[in-house]
Subunit: 440 residues, 2 copies
């Protein structure tokens, strides 16, 4: 048992993402004993994860130990643990290796990517939610260039230099733009046997336009900026198959050794243990005050909550998570003081997506921008949100460097070897087509 | 076959470490076709690897793509591949996935750590030769602190906070000093249930003194500086057993969940395929001109070579590797011009070892230093050697930051979960003693 005798009520926060951290910090002066549980030791600035995947930043530039973020807040205890289930009746959370009891609970365990029931696609099309995901993507992309350098067969070189990004939301758009830049600018001088500018990046989106939740005008601008960077944008295109050789879109086949998944979101499986109705993506349908139906002492926030605010669904973005985390914290304080919880109101502060070097689209209130100014704005907003001064400084420097030198500093292939042609078509000559092993 | 028709002689360099890169760069103006083969895509600045292991630097700060280092040198082709064996008779190197022929060969594949025939110790005492090694050490050290935070049993907390470093050479001394500082300064405010200053670091060295290849006076100063940092230094102490519970030194037992290996070096196994006499550590006994006995067209340099120069063995350090790489390149040029190869002369430029914040020992020519000036010197020399301007700048900033803020910016637990108590003593209560899983 982790609970100790204490006169203060006990709040447990599950998850140290934007929502969980915001809740903990909002209660820094409250007479409450907070336990923050995360299965990782670091808070991750997910909006910049694609920069790690494309070798522009180091993992430590966008991740920061949760324990350090909360170092000075004496009413918080941080524990590194994996929560297995929530027992709302007994008011306790069962961990893999222990139990923690609560008076109030804030669940902020977020979401992961989903393959819409086609989990067999995962080995061929990794997603982008964790530091490990980003390093895996980086390894595959860089290994594909290395393999192309040694490949004598023209057709196979083309497959190695074709990158398909599935999903045209902000992450997919950012990934596709960055991949195209890597090929065209960054590694252009590093290779001898092929022209890196022959890199082909294909962005596949099921809806009619990229960035489907943005205004039509911005989607159109994003598409044009992507195409200027050399990205081939396919909209209203549904992926029907992914395997070692690439992607099938109905009748069409795109031969590619590297496919990246930026579509589909599934809520943390912890939601199932709450025994309440979930939406199609597995998110918890919360009350207007963010509480669990029938359990006013339990709040669900961030990407795990499903809520409509003034008729519009609250989106799964960082600003919404920050706002919901703070709102849940305020409601906990109201309950502690015998008051009633208040309904959450989401304030849409706008949307931003970056596309490449000095290209982005933005919508802020009634204003819409694209091009260099939007890119600069995106940059300022993201740096401002980054937790930890050192990280802000390092990220800023890394970007300035990358911008002026067209260079990417984190181009390491690490970890276990990824073999893009391990499942090459039968009949291929193994001695030539097998990619080199990147590692010991 | 990777060889293409070319009027120039073909030089193959195996290994992109200090020796291999120095050889390639020395031949940048020579009329020769160079192929550099490495099984990794990056050159690693090994002297700073312990800084990654102790969370001060990111991997990308001390590693740089070989391809980029040689970008402007048009007579070099870099390939990412693993060499399986060398066939000196046929003048070719057999790769896992191909063959490369040569007229001249420079073998610079270096060394790895050795457990003196006790390979079963490896899971309990990881070494420090690669980026992955360093991340594994970092994961174990940080996970031990996390597990200690949640452990109710006093004895087990003590075991979790005890770190044993086996081997008192430069790497061991640097690791031990940095570990002690992590506990005493860096994480001091991050934990709630134990006093991080109760961290115990034990350095075990088999010889009579630490840094046994340095002058006696410096060894003594290093020992005093280590002890001032709180490191317990055990000399003339031989490890007889390592397992999940710690280390045995003859009759004595040190209970520790984290043991790190900084002793023993074994040459790259590629040396065996050369069919020439090897020394006890598996290194190639080369001719005075660094060539292979009976094969004047093959040179062996860096940590893989075994050679005495003016009666003293050439040490396995970066300056010796750089010098030997350049000497072998010069001999290749002499042979190309019909001249005779010349004997290698090693110039000892001195020794440096850092111990902690503003503490180090140095020997330069007849001069010996310790304390702050030696530390500052160490810092300048290592930064100056770092390849790539960006890396120099980032490392310098990271250190300045760490020095002034007592902070370590790269404290991420990533990769697969390491479970320090997976093999805990029988009878332990699993629900409490099992460490939390750091990862999905």
């Amino acid at each position: 048992m982790l609970a100790a005798p204490n006169p203060h009520p006990r709040l447990v926060i599950l998850g140290g993402g934007f929502a969980g951290l915001a809740a903990a910090r909002a209660l820094r002066k409250a007479p409450i004993e907070i336990t923050l549980v995360d299965r990782r030791n670091h808070h991750l600035f997910q909006p910049l994860l694609y920069q790690v995947a494309t070798a522009a930043l180091n993992p430590a530039d966008i991740a920061y130990p949760i324990r350090s973020v909360l170092r000075k807040q004496r009413n918080v205890r941080t524990i590194l643990a994996r929560a297995e289930r929530i027992e709302v009746g007994a008011k306790r959370v069962v961990l893999v290796d222990g139990v923690v009891e609560y008076d109030y609970l804030i669940v902020a365990t977020g979401a992961t990517h989903s393959y819409f029931g086609r989990d067999e696609w995962e080995p061929w099309a990794p997603g982008l939610k964790t530091v490990e995901d980003a390093l895996e993507v980086r390894r595959r992309v860089l290994s594909a260039f290395e393999a192309a350098e040694r490949e004598p067969d023209r057709q196979r070189v083309r497959e190695l230099l074709t990158f398909v990004v599935v999903g045209g939301g902000p992450t997919g758009v950012e990934l596709a733009g960055a991949l195209s830049e890597i090929g065209r600018l960054t590694v252009a001088k590093d290779f001898r046997t092929f022209d890196p500018r022959s890199v082909r990046v294909v962005l596949v989106e099921g809806a009619e336009r990229v960035l489907p939740v943005y205004p039509v005008e911005l989607s159109e601008k994003a598409r044009r900026q992507l195409e200027r960077l050399g990205v081939q944008v396919l909209t209203s295109a549904r992926v029907t198959e992914i395997d070692a050789n690439g992607v099938r879109l109905g009748e069409e086949r795109i031969h590619a050794r590297t496919v990246l998944w930026a579509a589909g979101v599934a809520a943390s499986p912890l939601a199932k243990s709450l025994s309440v109705p979930l939406d199609r993506a597995g998110r918890v349908l919360v009350e207007p005050d963010l509480s669990l139906p029938g359990h006013p002492e339990v709040f669900v926030v961030g990407d795990l909550m499903s809520l409509a605010c003034e008729g519009k669904p609250v989106p799964g973005v960082a600003p919404a998570a920050l706002q919901a985390g703070r709102a849940a914290a305020a409601n906990v304080q109201r309950l502690m003081q015998g008051q009633r919880a208040q309904a959450f109101r989401y304030r849409d502060k706008g949307s931003l997506a970056t596309i490449g070097r000095a290209a982005a689209v933005a919508q802020l209130g009634g204003w819409r921008f694209s091009g260099f100014f939007a890119w600069w704005l995106w940059w300022v907003v993201h740096i401002a949100y980054l937790i930890g001064f050192r990280n802000r400084l390092v990220v800023m420097m890394g970007w300035a460097w990358q911008y002026f030198a067209f260079s990417r500093g984190a181009r390491l292939i690490t970890g276990r070897a990824w073999q893009p042609s391990a499942a090459a078509p039968k009949g291929a000559e193994p001695a030539k087509s097998a990619p080199q092993e990147a590692l010991r």
